[in-house]
Symmetry: C2
């Protein structure tokens, strides 16, 4: 694993199941009024305020599929596992309020390892004002398993779904795309180099690549963008977060909303470090930005009449527009050609 824990090693069996859960969850005081009862009973109790609806989303992260503990520090892993759930709640125009965390851990993990995962979860909870209200830790015969469920709140009837995009709506995206994917490529390369060097003290070279590394290891949910949109009086017609990649998400919105879309290649926001890394690895930059995934940016559509308002919001870029469904989803390249957008999908099986 990416951490060194030379100071202290506590076997999980020393604490036992209930001792471990008590130990891990004792530093999570409840802060939200809606969190009536947290960890330690058959279920948590949540008092959703009048005039609000509850949102619920869940993510299952499996070692070897969604993360690799050889180069992902466990604290970052915990942080990311929580934040990707918060991102789903923001993508509904909501505010995350509570999470439950279930871990499956094999015997090669010590109490200190699990503490690191929880330290990351705790930091994410603090940064986003979320309470941990349920937790369970179980043995796993195989790899590390992290299952997080997040509850959020949204004004009644104000949730933004994927299904509301209308013809002529503008397609917008926050931040930049492809950086998390390039960060992963960098981590994998340095991990390979380390393995080949055979040097246990090998130091990976991340100089000048801090941004893409952070995008992969410590993504943030775009709470700020939701706040800016609310402040500007903009209610997106459809919204989702970019977890699988822009192509895939555009197709989701088109399918759910029964529309088509046109997206301009030269409008896709890409960071300089992402471009440099793609160049270094001889990879297609637009493919990385369209299909890389794990950006956790917000993809949303707004009525054409909101164009002026959107232009004033820093960190949001208009990348195309919604069409009638018969036109399908297509990318317009720099030289004006149209290519159908395809989801790279998921080839893990």
């Amino acid at each position: 694993m990416a951490e060194n824990n030379k100071e202290k090693v506590t076997e999980i069996s020393q604490l036992g199941e209930f001792g471990l859960i008590d130990h891990l969850t004792k530093d999570f005081p409840l802060k939200n009024e809606s969190s009536v009862l947290g960890v330690g009973d058959d279920a948590a109790i949540i008092d959703v305020p009048e005039g609000k609806e509850a949102l619920v989303t869940t993510d299952l992260l499996l070692e070897g599929i969604h993360f690799d503990v050889r180069y992902v520090p466990l604290k970052h892993l915990g942080y990311k596992a929580a934040v990707v759930n918060f991102s789903d709640v923001y993508a509904m125009n909501g505010t995350p309020k509570q999470i439950t965390v279930s871990l499956g851990v094999s015997s090669r993990f010590t109490v200190e390892h699990i503490e690191q995962i929880y330290a990351g979860i705790r930091l994410a909870c603090e940064n986003y004002g979320v309470d941990l209200v349920g937790g369970d830790t179980s043995a796993s015969q195989t790899g590390l398993v992290i299952s997080i469920t997040c509850l959020g709140e949204v004004e009644k009837g104000k949730a933004v779904k994927r299904s509301g995009a209308k013809e002529t709506d503008l397609i917008c995206v926050s931040g930049d795309l492809g950086a998390a994917y390039m960060g992963l490529q960098l981590l994998e390369r340095e991990n390979q180099v380390a393995a080949q060097s055979g040097d246990p003290n090998f130091q990976p070279n991340f100089a000048g690549k801090e941004y893409i590394l952070e995008r992969q290891l410590k993504p943030e949910a775009r709470k700020d963008i939701i706040e800016k949109l609310n402040a500007a009086g903009i209610i997106p017609t459809s919204m989702m977060d970019v977890s699988d990649g822009l192509s895939s998400e555009l197709l989701h919105i088109c399918k759910s909303s029964d529309v088509g879309c046109r997206v301009y290649e030269d409008r896709i926001p890409i960071d300089y470090q992402t471009a440099v890394m793609a160049e270094e690895l001889n990879m297609n930059l637009v493919t990385a930005a369209m299909n890389g995934g794990e950006d956790y940016e917000l993809l949303f559509t707004v009525p054409l009449t909101d164009k002026d308002k959107i232009e004033k919001i820093e960190g949001v870029k208009m990348i195309g527009y919604i069409t009638k469904p018969s036109l399908g989803a297509a990318l317009i390249t720099r030289d004006g050609q149209e290519f159908p957008i395809k989801a790279q999908g998921w080839q893990a099986f």
Copy 2:
């Protein structure tokens, strides 16, 4: 695996991730008014009715730790995975309303296998009036992983926690205990006999043991007991479901409520088939009933003044009483001796 699927084998890769989720979740129409938006967006939307609080509980089931697909049919596995979550909601005096289901499946599973798991989940949802509102299926490098989160409702302020037991309260338990554990012993024995016989057509002998088998493979949540308690005007002072075993749960209630307890060995409800199986396997019957787990019965405490009401409720037995904390938790044997109650705990690490 316990099923034979000679008719049809569809590789998961033929459908892809999104195709698979669509395929699995299309037969789950939303029935509850509170289920505003189900599967297919970043989060589900739940409208908790005025005057109610939401309950949330989650369970992570890992192959080889919590179940063994060599002798647990996948449909039963799906049913049980859902029901154990419903049980947690009932144990708070609530009603389960929604679940989300995340699966991690390795390549040895086909679409038909996953359909069987979902068929069990669907049956459980139908039987208990619960909506599936979120689902995710991911590849797993190792075993089968099932993570289910359940949301429920309870009248505001009426949730029954583990922490309300008071001195002199009566300790009650529904149904009988130890049967699920003995069912597991039976399954493991027949599985060993099958392996030793080398006969692919080996038929396990379950005659006269149907009850303990069903208690292991297809447990039910005690919705009926909650309804009877409500009808009788009984509000337990504390309650939880028996998942880890009576000993462990009694200690939870004592710790949460800061009380002690006395439980009478001869009052512990045990089914005839459980006793026969323990005899056959030369196992201590009381140990099985106290520590077996997976019974999903309700353990609760009521004020002494409810004694007459409790006696009229079929399927509930008074097994002891709550004491002051200094007396600790003890089992009183048939010959009047006191033995401290200890949690067998969880030795899976």
